[in-house]
């Protein structure tokens, strides 16, 4: 059995899906990001000024890494959750399950789709950002690595959501009620140094804060939180949730009677 061929096929099918529905997958993040830059950057940002800990950077420059992460996280998660649930809903998942494809190949195939959308949307957000501000990238390799790792982690989480989902509502509950609040409170628009001790405490138990700050460090070369913490956190979560997703597929949770 040529598992590499089956992995290539599933990855190709997933990427083709993203490109086929580009109006749903690529355009919305571009518009949302442009609005964020217009409102928070151009109109309000000039009144906010510099963020503590990021002296020498405009508010727009501070915001760019956060907005890229916002797009990468939400899109990689949503892509795999909807692709996997959509395949379940249309029973197309049976095409994969009855084949001799290994579970790791199924898992990686869907993850590749999530990474592809995360990276694609990340690039779109960078391009949109360039209309509003100029910025350099401190460490290109670390920036790309961070995007890949983050989109991998949230693709896996999206797949776990898709595995358990029984209705279309189930794939929007986690993003709406868990992911979005955590992302918005994860230091995308502000430095936690401006928060009171109590809110700083709550912010510091939010894992997204570390992920955003690791990326901000990779892009801007500075971060209010030790970037190593973010890197370790993403790696541990990625390995842990990959193992969980593999176990769920192996057991046939959500896809087998």
């Amino acid at each position: 059995m040529n598992h590499l061929q089956s992995l290539k096929t599933l990855s190709y099918v997933q990427v083709r899906r993203i490109l086929r529905i580009w109006i749903q997958t690529i355009i919305p993040p571009a518009i949302t990001t442009a609005l964020y830059f217009l409102i928070f950057g151009e109109l309000i940002g000039s009144r906010i000024g510099e963020m503590p800990g990021y002296e020498g950077l405009t508010y727009l420059e501070f915001m760019v890494p956060g907005l890229i992460m916002l797009a990468v996280i939400t899109n990689s998660y949503a892509n795999v959750a909807s692709a996997f649930f959509g395949a379940k809903f249309q029973k197309a998942i049976e095409e994969i399950l009855i084949s001799p494809m290994a579970n790791w190949a199924i898992l990686l195939g869907f993850i590749v789709g999530g990474i592809a959308r995360g990276v694609l949307v990340g690039v779109v957000v960078v391009l949109v950002s360039l209309f509003f501000t100029n910025f350099g990238i401190s460490n290109v390799f670390l920036t790309l690595f961070s995007i890949l790792l983050t989109s991998t982690l949230f693709s896996i989480l999206g797949l776990i959501n898709g595995v358990y989902a029984k209705t279309f509502d189930d794939i929007s509950i986690v993003p709406t009620f868990v992911l979005t609040p955590l992302i918005y409170l994860g230091g995308i628009f502000y430095s936690i140094e401006i928060l009171s001790d109590q809110w700083q405490f709550f912010s510091k138990i939010n894992p997204i804060l570390y992920i955003v700050n690791f990326f901000r460090y990779a892009m801007l070369g500075t971060s209010e939180i030790d970037p190593t913490l973010g890197l370790v956190l993403i790696c541990v979560f990625t390995v842990g949730f990959f193992a969980l997703a593999y176990y769920l597929l192996h057991k046939g949770v959500g896809v087998k009677d």
């Binding site: 040529n2 096929t9 190709y12 899906r17 086929r20 029973k91 998942i93 095409e95 084949s99 001799p100």
Partner: protein
């Protein structure tokens, strides 16, 4: 060699429905085998377990000599399944869906493209290759399902009601196609509600009811169990009111038509040689009984 061997297969669903109560089944390589049963009898559960869409609670299954508990991927590579329900993305094009299925089985793109073209042409939907699946008719979707199941050249093909909702002309065309596939060496297991289909195509048959195999034999042996056959006879002239043929039960249906019940141990010659029958000018004799249907209903106690 055994294409499929099932031993003591049991399945109880989470809602405590007992789907299979320990079935045993052997399908020899090269056979065209019918697996029949009423709705909810356990056919689809059996197929689901064989194809890994349903988990078993007990028992063993070997596909072409490979135990699924020992090497399921290898066993699955020998198997093609046409499920009862359409199971492809409605938003993909015909050729893309088939090529993807080949890829999942590890078939390289060049081989997959050649086979896709071959089967699409054989089943008469080559002109639909770049059409979205959702735009196909029911019959065309059925054909795509069959091609998907054959694209990796399986040794065992399981068809779960492959001709459901398909018009007669296409059904006959699919029969011919499946006969060719079977002659080429592929073992076929067919479930269908068109019992005429099973009678015409299959050499061996198992009937499952309420999670148990209640009959497993050669088709001809099963048909021999039929007690009576009913023939409808049409004549040119009016049938006399007092028509009687000794030894046969008659029912006059109209002026030119009557039906006669012929027990299985009575020769038809006895009917033809009867003096009363000889006086009639017969234009048509039809076997009214769907033989397998009669047996099926008797066996599953639904008559």
């Amino acid at each position: 060699m055994k294409a499929l061997e099932i031993k003591n297969l049991k399945k109880i669903y989470a809602n405590e429905v007992v789907a299979l109560k320990g079935i045993d089944l052997v399908v020899e390589s090269g056979d065209f085998f019918a697996l029949l049963g009423p709705n909810g009898a356990g056919k689809s559960t059996t197929i689901g377990i064989i194809s890994s869409l349903v988990t078993k609670d007990h028992g063993s299954i070997s596909i072409c000599g490979i135990d699924i508990d020992e090497n399921f991927p290898l066993a699955k590579s020998k198997l093609g399944v046409v499920n009862q329900e359409f199971n492809f993305s409605q938003f993909e094009k015909v050729r893309d869906v088939i090529m993807a299925q080949a890829g999942y089985y590890g078939v390289d793109p060049k081989t997959a493209a050649a086979r896709t073209e071959e089967y699409l042409k054989k089943l008469g939907i080559w002109d639909k290759r770049d059409v979205f699946i959702r735009e196909l008719s029911g019959g065309q979707k059925r054909r795509v399902m069959i091609i998907k199941a054959l694209i990796h050249k399986p040794e065992l093909l399981i068809l779960d009601e492959p001709t459901a909702g398909v018009d007669i002309e296409l059904r006959r065309g699919l029969w011919d196609f499946l006969i060719d596939i079977n002659k080429g060496g592929t073992t076929i297991i067919l479930t269908t509600h068109y019992l005429e289909e099973a009678e015409n195509l299959c050499r061996n048959i198992a009937i499952i009811d309420n999670g148990t195999i209640i009959e497993n034999t050669k088709m001809e042996h099963l048909l021999k169990k039929l007690e009576n056959q009913v023939f409808t006879i049409e004549t040119t002239e009016s049938i006399p009111d007092n028509l009687k043929i000794e030894g046969f039960n008659l029912t006059v249906e109209d002026n030119n038509k009557f039906s006669v019940i012929v027990p299985k141990d009575v020769s038809m010659n006895k009917l033809f040689e009867n003096d009363s029958f000889k006086q009639l000018e017969v234009t048509n004799i039809k076997n009214q009984t769907n033989r397998l249907e009669e047996l099926f209903l008797n066996l599953t106690s639904k008559k």
